[in-house]
């Protein structure tokens, strides 16, 4: 699995959304990337569930959210 990191913290909306979408749309089967955000993106997680992406999110010590998004 090829894991890259997309850091979308500290950006004004909609830039974090745009960066996440670009990375998700470019994701190839069997690949994954880590998304860093300032807050939990509830709507994005629902979309990932519905569209069959895997995701594993956790809050880091510094308060930001780290999400590993993979495409089976």
């Amino acid at each position: 699995m090829n894991a890259q990191t997309v850091d979308a913290r500290g950006l004004e909306p909609p830039e974090p959304f745009e960066r996440a979408m670009e990375a998700i749309m470019a994701l190839q089967p069997g690949h994954a990337f880590t998304l860093l955000l300032d807050r939990m993106p509830h709507p994005l997680l629902r979309v990932l569930d519905r569209d069959g992406y895997m995701h594993d999110e956790r809050f880091r010590e510094d308060g930001c959210v780290e999400i590993l998004i993979s495409r089976p």
Binding site: P14, D38, M40, H42, P43, D51, F59
Partner: protein, 423 residues
């Protein structure tokens, strides 16, 4: 699993028309409040004049409530993961009931019509109870909150305070419209209704959304964790104790706890201003300036409330009301609308797989800046009119222009959305 990337659909996002209807009708209530000020030069002489009661409700139950409900329809799914059941239907019912209720109540209070007051109270209560019930369902279905954000918890607290505000409001409508006998003085119930509306509902909602929106859109550091952990629960606890003391007639406790509530309001404003000073923005945009002006007005209202505690002059409560309603809430709400509406139009274009224009093109900063200048001028005129009543019509004219312009700016974003969607 398909080998091609699946399309990303967003059915969970409420339709754009759900929040938008609230945002576009809200300024009409602000315009109506301005017309009242324009027509009645004595309106700001006391908080008890029929005109003042009418204008306050056009502002609070009209403008503010419309935007707050529309924003909650959008915010609850996003920050709390709490999607409304049938959001479009809830929006249609709530919008119709709350809008017509606010108009009827404001008319009844201004014209002294008991039937209109009762009708307004019933319509408002029906709309708000519908909204609260839908919110409860949405929150019950949401996954448990994780992480350090206190926004989901504080939104729940604010909704609870809205329920209590509604209860006090219905009691007031029954007193004024049907002569309901109270076991305590009428001003006590008015004070309970007003402070639960302003601080319990409005203040907590403003704070809960600020925990997210200020760092997100104003590119500031996050609020200190301890501050967000404590502010809303402490405020609500003190507010409850203050209310009990007021009903029990314990004057010393009312004064002490009232001072604590004033200090808590000041702490929120000063903390927000401190964060804004640490923004990573090189140049503050117009909504940033509007939000800063709103927090400065909140500090001003705190000073006016302290003066009201020390002096009996009728101007201090009116000044505090002007600074809270117009200065703080109208300013903060306008600032948030200028971020929310372009973002939503952008989001819905993106979801429709339309190449969305840059957000700054959907609503250019220059248009916002001019309207915010008028907002500042209107606030200044309102403050002066509290002490020089002859200026009230001028203040009213500026309020009409301010809210008319706000509406035009929001319509600009909607037109750009429509144009891009049909290009």
């Amino acid at each position: 699993m398909s080998s091609a990337n699946p399309g990303l659909a967003y059915e969970d996002t409420p339709p754009l028309s759900a929040p938008l209807r609230f945002f576009l009708t809200a300024p009409l209530f602000g315009i109506a409040a301005g017309v009242l000020l324009l027509a009645d030069g004595e309106l700001l002489v006391s908080r008890w004049t029929p005109g003042a009661l009418s204008a306050v409700h056009l502002f609070a139950a009209g403008f503010m409530l419309q935007v707050m409900l529309g924003a909650l329809l959008q915010i609850l799914p996003v920050v709390a993961g709490a999607g409304f059941p049938a959001p479009l239907r809830i929006a249609t019912i709530t919008h119709a009931l709350v809008g017509s209720g606010a108009a009827s109540l404001a008319y009844g209070l201004g014209a002294g019509s008991p039937n209109a007051i009762i009708a307004g109270g019933v319509l408002l209560a029906a709309g708000l109870l519908t909204f609260l019930a839908a919110s409860l369902v949405a929150l019950a279905r949401a996954a448990p909150a994780q992480g350090a954000s206190r926004t989901p918890r504080d939104l729940r607290l604010a909704l609870g305070a809205l329920g209590l505000t509604t209860l006090f409001g219905i009691m007031l409508a029954l007193v004024l419209g049907r002569g309901l006998a109270l076991p305590f003085a009428l001003p006590t119930l008015v004070d309970l209704h007003a402070i639960w509306a302003w601080l319990g509902w409005g203040g907590l909602l403003l704070a809960a959304t600020s925990w997210v929106v200020v760092p997100m859109f104003q590119i500031t550091p996050a609020y200190p964790a301890r501050f967000t952990q404590l502010w809303a629960p402490v405020t609500l606890a003190v507010l409850t104790l203050w209310s009990v003391s007021l009903l029990a007639g314990v004057e010393l406790a009312v004064s002490v706890l009232g001072s604590v509530l004033i200090a808590l309001s000041a702490a929120f404003a000063l903390q927000t201003l401190k964060l804004q000073r640490s923004t990573r923005r090189s140049t503050p945009d117009a909504p940033f300036r509007a939000f800063r002006m709103s927090m400065i007005a909140l500090v001003g209202s705190v000073i006016a409330l302290l003066l009201a505690l020390l002096h009996d002059a009728p101007q201090w409560p009116v000044l505090a009301g002007v600074l809270v309603l117009h200065g703080t809430f109208a300013g903060a709400i306008s600032a948030m609308l200028y971020k929310i509406v372009p973002f939503l139009t952008w989001l819905h274009l993106t979801q429709a797989r339309v190449r969305a224009p840059n957000m700054k093109k959907l609503l250019p900063d220059v248009l916002i800046r001019r309207q915010i200048l008028v907002h500042g001028a209107a606030l200044g005129a309102l403050v002066l009119a509290v002490f020089v009543p002859v200026l009230t019509p001028l203040a009213g004219l500026l309020v009409v222009i301010e809210f008319g312009w706000l509406l035009l700016n929001l319509l600009h974003a909607v037109r750009e959305w429509h144009r891009a969607a049909h290009a």
